[in-house]
Every structure is written in structure tokens, then in C-alpha cells.
């Protein structure tokens, strides 16, 4: 019973952390169609900004927000310099975002070095003992934050006129422009927001992982699977479902085998799922 509860709780937490990590990718991929291979580097960058700002004595909450802002600005600059000229040419944006990953990783190595950095748990203290489950405090906070971010975005997406504009644009870009929408500016906004979300996620998960230049890599592929299994454009339910499939499966499989084998197995399953439902499990069409 205790094992079941703790596995279930762990799975939920991991799912939400993974959803958080994948969210920026879901935004950019789902709304602009850019296959952002630089997503992992954006996470890493957010983690490093967080590490650095904390090192400068900035408190944790403003640090994480500033990290998100900074990565968002980097994303905006990248979009403005390169990406905006290549919308509608998915292969070129794929290569360019991959180049973004390479360049960003190298800049991180030059500026911050290659040593592993540790970000202290900002809450600290022992897990809260609920008798049948030891609640890992910080992880739980991150999971709740992930829920809040997804829910907040859902609210904007479905309940505001900004949301109407974004959804209309993804359904018919030319028509949105003919009605007066500045599509280029909207793409820029979306790209910047997606980058900022990746930066936020990177900052928030920094205390849970060793911060090093390649920390985003693993999240890149996982995030892709999350987004594609969930269904592109199915930002919210899709992302949560995809995270549950990837993160949950990994947790459960890891119980019976090695962590690495679990991960490999999950990748295999993800590829198989994509083969049979390339439009994503959650996509209605």
C-alpha cells in the first residue's frame, strides 16, 4: 500500500515537472510550427542564470523570474535575427535552432565553465512525513507551479481576446493578417514567451539536478516526445497527457529495472506510439 501510494505520488510529481520542462517547447512548436531544437539549451541557460543570480545574492523568487525574462529576451533576439526569416521552412528552422543549441552551449561553457554547479534547495529541510508518504517539499512546489503555469496559460488561451488572436492565427495565418493581426509580431511574442517558459522551467528545476552545460539535452528529446505524443497544438491537455505517458512510464519501468534501461524502453515505446499515431494520441483529428 505504501509503495503504491509513493509510486503514484512520485509519478504525479515527475509528470508535472516534465510537463513544466516541455511546456516552452509545446508553445513554440504548437503555435509557430518551429521545431525548436534549442529548447534544451534554453532550459540550461535558465538554470545557469539562476545559479549565477543566486551566487550574486539575489533571492530565489526574483532570481527565477529574472532568469525567465533573460532567456525570453535571448529567444526574442534569436527570433528577430534569424528565425523570423525562415517561418514556413521547417527544415531550416530545425537546423537554425540546433545551431542555437550548439552556440549557446559553447557560450555557457566559456562563460560559466564546465564544472557541475549545484543550486541549493531554496526551501530546504526534510521531506514532510505524511506517514504513508514522504513529501519532497521542493518537488511538490515545482509540481504545483507547473500546474499553475499550465492553468494560467489555458486561461489566457481560452478566455481572453489575446487567446482568440493566437488560436485564430494558428488556424489560418493569412486570414488573421487580413483581419488586421500583425502576424509577425504575434509570432515573435509567442516565440519569446516559449523561450521564457523554458528559461523559467530551467531555473525552477535547477535545484533538483546538477547544473552543467548539457543538462538540457535529455529534456530536449523527452520534451519532444511529450509534445508529439500529446499532439502538436494540444498545448494543455496534450502536454499533461504526454508528460504522464513519458514520465509515468519511466518511473514505473525504473521500479523493475535500471534507470537507463527504463529510459531506453520509454524512448522505444514513444517512437512506436508516434509511428502509429503520428498526429499525437490526444489530437482529435
Amino acid at each position: 500500500m505504501e509503495i503504491l501510494v509513493s509510486v503514484l505520488a512520485d509519478t504525479v510529481l515527475i509528470t508535472l515537472v516534465l510537463a513544466f520542462a516541455a511546456f516552452g517547447l509545446a508553445i513554440i512548436y504548437g503555435l509557430t510550427g518551429v521545431i525548436n531544437m534549442g529548447h534544451g539549451a534554453m532550459l540550461t541557460l535558465g538554470a545557469y542564470f539562476t545559479w549565477w543570480l543566486l551566487d550574486q545574492g539575489v533571492p530565489f523568487v526574483p532570481t527565477v523570474l529574472l532568469s525567465a525574462l533573460a532567456v525570453g529576451l535571448v529567444g526574442l533576439a534569436f527570433e528577430h535575427l534569424l528565425i523570423r526569416h525562415f517561418y514556413g521552412r521547417p527544415f531550416d528552422t530545425l537546423l537554425l535552432t540546433w545551431a542555437f543549441f550548439l552556440v549557446t552551449t559553447e557560450v555557457i561553457k566559456i562563460v560559466f565553465g564546465t564544472d557541475f554547479r549545484n543550486v541549493a534547495d531554496p526551501i530546504g529541510g526534510d521531506p514532510v512525513n505524511l506517514g504513508i508518504y514522504q513529501v519532497p517539499t521542493y518537488k511538490t512546489v515545482v509540481a504545483l507551479l507547473a500546474l499553475a503555469v499550465v492553468a494560467g496559460t489555458a486561461l489566457v488561451f481560452f478566455k481572453t481576446t489575446l487567446g482568440v488572436r493566437v488560436r485564430a492565427m494558428t488556424q489560418n495565418r493569412e486570414m488573421a493578417g487580413l483581419l488586421g493581426l500583425n502576424v509577425a509580431a504575434m509570432y515573435k511574442l509567442v516565440f519569446g514567451f516559449g523561450a521564457a517558459m523554458a528559461g523559467l522551467a530551467g531555473g525552477v528545476i535547477a535545484p533538483m539536478f546538477a547544473v552543467q552545460p548539457y543538462m538540457g539535452d535529455m529534456f530536449l528529446v523527452r520534451s519532444f516526445f511529450v509534445v508529439t505524443i500529446g499532439g502538436i497544438g494540444q498545448l494543455l491537455a496534450g502536454t499533461l497527457f504526454g508528460s504522464f505517458a513519458i514520465g509515468g512510464l519511466e518511473t514505473v519501468l525504473a521500479l523493475f529495472s535500471d534507470q537507463v534501461i527504463a529510459q531506453i524502453a520509454v524512448f522505444f515505446i514513444a517512437v512506436i506510439v508516434l509511428r502509429f499515431r503520428p498526429q499525437g494520441v490526444f489530437s482529435g483529428r
Partner: protein
């Protein structure tokens, strides 16, 4: 458009053949003129060149980008190492078996993955992600099964010996013999790949890149051709990997991973994705340059950054890479490559 440029290209020899001849003659002459590190290291770069060609025929001709070429290379390398290590005391030369297993292993793995994905008509983006995952899976596998693969330390591989029954036994322990053996592998690989790509098969593959729907409408089995070209690509990567392992005397997880796969993409982009020769030369030049510049302390940290920036410049400014640039300078650019991308 294709019909217009056909006559100019129909001759038995083309400019690229002359260039290829020059490149291979130069490579053949190098051990005669010098010795030492250059002769030691060049065969490895030539094999990286073959790896680059494996991607070029997929990307440049087929329009399919794979971020998993390192996986097939590693399959070749580890197959070579493991077969040579464990298959002893047999009448047959274990290195030959290793090469065969490595090559077929790379090819068959690619065929299976290609069939699995292309038959469902997965889009290019998913294919990239799937091949990226393949790289990670192979890297993680060789890292974690360390009792078999040596894990992080890599796997030691012997230099092979060329035998021909009882008539010939040539150790490849010295630099020059293995140099020429590698060259003797690389040249036919290039010639066969080039011939294939210029023939009917290559034309169909290019046709699919240009307009998949049209080729389907014309009755071509598009998934099959994509699968075949991917299989061929895996085969070439496998050959390159098996010879690389015996030359470098190790198989290592570094040569399986995502970063190594990425480097292959960069070589090909810089060399010219439409040209097998360009990719081959691109890999040799960029790999040597990287190796050289990384050994200089003042710039070693900046070199990968510069590579990344060059990569961006190639994507944005010179889509044809070096080969495209050379073609343009040679005056062919105006009408030759126009239909290229």
C-alpha cells in the same frame, strides 16, 4: 528544369569526377611524400568522410535529415570490436566477419527503422526526433552495459590483419598499410554511391525530395525508396564505423552520441549537402581543422563556438556549402544548381 540541364551532365565524365580523381590521387600520394602523424590520422578522417557521405546521400539527395548517423557508425565500430574480441580461433579472419557484421548491422538497423517509420508516413520532424532518440539510446546502451562494451572507457579493438587464404598475410599495424587499405575501401564506396545516386535510383530519390506527392502519383513506392536510401546510409555509416574502430583501436560512446551525430550534420552542411565529394572533403577538412585548432590552448575553447557560427552562416548564406560555392565559382552556378534545394 531537370530536363534542361540533363544534356550538359550526360557526358561520361563530369567536373566532379575530375575533382574526385584529384582528391583521391592527392590522398594516395600523401604517404609517399610524408610520414608520421598525418599518415596516421588521415585514414580516420577519410572514414569520417564516408560517414559524412552517408548523411549527404540521405539529406542532399533524399531531403531527409538524420540526427542518428553516429548510432550506425557506433554499431559498426562496436560490432567490429566485439567480433574481433570474441570470435577467435576460427578458420576465417575475424576482422572480415567484424566488418561484415558492422556493415550489415548498420544497414539492417537503418532499414528496419526506416521501414518502421516511413511506411507510416511519419513527417520529417518526427523522423529527426526519432533518429535523435536512436543516438541517445545507442549511446546510453554502450555506456551502461559496461561488462560487454567497456562502458565509459570504451572498447579496445585490435588492428586487423589482411589475409587471403594462406597466400597473403598483411599486418595493418603500421600507418602506411592501413592508410592504403582504408583508401582502397573509401574509393569504391565513393564510386558506388555516386553511381547509384546518378542512376535511376538516385533520380527517383531526388524526385521524392522535390515532390513526394507527384512521385506517389506516378506510381513510385515512396516509403520503400526512403527506406532503401536510409538503409544505404546506415550501411555506409556501418562500414565507416567498423574500419574506424580497427584503425583508432577503440570503439567509444563518444562516437555514438548526439554530439557526434551533430558534427556529421555540420560537416555535410559545410561541405555541401548535394555533393558526396563535397561532404567527404568537408568532413576531412573540418575534422582536421577542429583537431588542429583544439590543440591550441588559446583558441580551443572558442573553436566549437566558431563552428556553430559557421554552421549558421552556411544555413543562412551558402545553402550549397563549399561544394555549391565551388560550383558557382566554376561558372556553373548560374544554371546548374538552380533547381537544387
Amino acid at each position: 528544369m531537370t530536363a534542361e540541364i540533363q544534356p550538359a551532365r550526360r557526358g561520361v565524365f563530369r567536373r566532379e569526377d575530375v575533382a574526385a580523381l584529384a582528391v583521391f590521387l592527392l590522398l594516395a600520394a600523401i604517404p609517399l611524400a610524408t610520414s608520421g602523424y598525418v599518415v596516421y590520422i588521415l585514414p580516420q578522417y577519410m572514414l569520417l568522410g564516408v560517414l559524412a557521405m552517408s548523411l549527404a546521400l540521405l539529406w542532399g539527395h533524399g531531403g531527409i535529415v538524420s540526427f542518428g548517423q553516429a548510432a550506425f557508425f557506433a554499431i559498426g565500430a562496436y560490432a567490429m570490436g566485439l567480433v574481433m574480441k570474441h570470435l577467435t580461433g576460427m578458420a576465417i579472419n575475424s576482422a572480415y566477419v567484424g566488418i561484415l557484421v558492422g556493415t550489415v548491422g548498420g544497414g539492417v538497423t537503418a532499414l528496419l527503422i526506416g521501414y518502421f517509420l516511413f511506411s507510416a508516413g511519419v513527417r520529417a520532424a518526427y523522423f529527426v526526433v526519432a533518429t535523435l532518440a536512436l543516438s541517445i539510446v545507442v549511446e546510453q546502451t554502450v555506456k551502461s552495459f559496461s561488462d560487454i562494451t567497456g562502458g565509459w572507457n570504451g572498447l579496445y579493438v585490435d588492428r586487423m590483419t589482411v589475409t587471403l587464404g594462406s597466400w597473403l598475410e598483411l599486418s595493418l599495424f603500421d600507418d602506411a598499410p592501413i592508410y592504403y587499405v582504408v583508401l582502397a575501401v573509401v574509393v569504391p564506396v565513393y564510386v558506388i554511391a555516386t553511381a547509384l545516386m546518378r542512376g535511376r535510383f538516385g533520380k527517383i530519390v531526388v524526385g521524392i525530395r522535390e515532390n513526394e506527392d507527384r512521385m506517389t502519383a506516378l506510381g513510385f513506392n515512396v516509403p520503400m525508396y526512403k527506406t532503401l536510401v536510409f538503409g544505404l546510409s546506415g550501411l555506409l555509416a556501418g562500414v565507416a564505423g567498423s574500419f574506424y574502430a580497427t584503425h583508432a583501436q577503440f570503439a567509444h560512446p563518444v562516437n555514438a552520441g548526439v554530439l557526434f551525430s551533430t558534427q556529421v550534420v555540420i560537416w555535410v552542411a559545410i561541405g555541401g549537402r548535394h555533393s558526396l565529394l563535397g561532404s567527404f572533403v568537408g568532413a576531412i577538412v573540418v575534422a582536421s581543422l577542429s583537431n588542429y585548432l583544439s590543440s591550441i590552448e588559446e583558441i580551443q575553447n572558442y573553436w566549437p563556438l566558431v563552428m556553430g557560427l559557421i554552421f549558421i552562416a552556411v544555413i543562412v548564406l551558402f545553402r550549397g556549402g563549399l561544394a555549391g560555392l565551388v560550383e558557382k565559382l566554376a561558372g556553373k552556378g548560374a544554371h546548374g544548381r538552380a533547381a537544387g534545394h
